[in-house]
Symmetry: C2
Subunit: 187 residues, 2 copies
DNA sequence: AGAGCGGGTGTACGAACGTACACCGAGGGG
DNA sequence: CCCCTCGGTGTACGTTCGTACACCCGCTCT
């Protein structure tokens, strides 16, 4: 039995290359050939390791959501009280939407590409649901379920709008919004 | 000078067809041929009326954002006080994310497709900026600029998450989030 | 009435795509 | 030492694409 004779993490490298290509030219411009070239593997490897394009995309976005959740959990896990949790949430919003960090623009681009697929194909919607579910669970370490749900949506909206804005809003605005949403109204 | 000899609103019909095709198969699956077939015009009309694919997409999404803004302004314009404005905002969120209305899934799909383009191409980012600018202006008829900005992001996030969720959240959660965000905190 | 113009269209070309599949060669079994 | 197995790969096919451009024909002007 020859096992991993050539390249034990060939698959993983293809998946990383796929995400790179998607971030660069979009799902629309992603092809087996381009991914293969970027990963430095022959074209035949594509159909050998993955059951066609859809399978490749699903694996790639699965890996992407995994690391997105990991970041979420890491930041929220480090917070020791509500105040720190609020700060962590603000950090996440600005981390995601910071224009000066190409790596973060990448996250935003990949999110949109995934949402676009999810809006049309159930298989990808499953990925986004799992992502949302785990994000909310992490928020529930610090906030009640309803607040967690609202906060999750707020993070999404703030990050998207901030990333697209001509002049991204200040941190103070983010913090203020988080504070308002996590403070029960008087009545 | 023969003018509009055949079809005065040929262009407009192509644009409508383009949005239909995008909603159905995505920007990735949209081709001149498919749009032409859907609009009932010859393939040659595509390059005649539009300077290539990018131009076509820009025109189509320009028309899309126009009607999205119109809906926004209509709903918010009809509100006569803060309470009605809050209700209008909740209406917009649920209108956008209602799973039982195919027309609304369409809006969500098109939004994501546009954001995906905007994340990569400046020409499309201009469209989303104008869209955000006008949405915020409509919100400012009832709320201060900072709140308007926060609310705009919240609407976005709630609509996206609600549309993708397994069990979409109740209206009460939306209303509660809007109330919290539009009520200054005590301290 | 005939000519000429120009808006509109059919077609053809080169490039790129996903995928199937015949083939190769290293390594283990006899 | 030979052969067979099977993981891995190169190539070729059929399809679809964007775009250019030669052409057609209804209309207007002389």
């Amino acid at each position: 039995m020859t096992f991993g004779r050539h390249d034990p993490d060939r698959r993983a490298r293809i998946i990383r290359a796929t995400l790179d290509v998607i971030a660069e030219v979009g799902v629309a411009g992603t092809s087996h050939r381009r991914v293969a070239a970027h990963a430095g593997v022959p074209l035949g490897s594509m159909t050998y390791h993955f059951d066609g394009m859809d399978d490749l995309l699903r694996e790639a976005f699965g890996s992407f959501t995994e690391s997105a959740v990991a970041l979420f959990e890491e930041r929220l896990g480090a917070a020791r009280d509500i105040a720190e949790a609020r700060t962590a949430v603000a950090d996440l919003v600005h981390h995601l939407s910071d224009e000066n960090a190409p790596e973060h623009q990448r996250t935003l681009v990949l999110s949109h590409e995934l949402y676009t697929l999810a809006a049309r194909k159930p298989a990808f919607r499953e990925l986004t649901r799992e992502w949302m579910r785990r994000s909310r669970r992490a928020l529930e370490w610090h906030f009640d379920p309803v607040t967690a749900r609202q906060l999750d949506a707020l993070i999404e909206g703030l990050a998207i709008h901030r990333a697209l804005d001509t002049e991204p809003h200040e941190r103070a605005l983010t913090v203020e919004a988080i504070t308002r949403l996590t403070t029960p109204t008087a009545d």
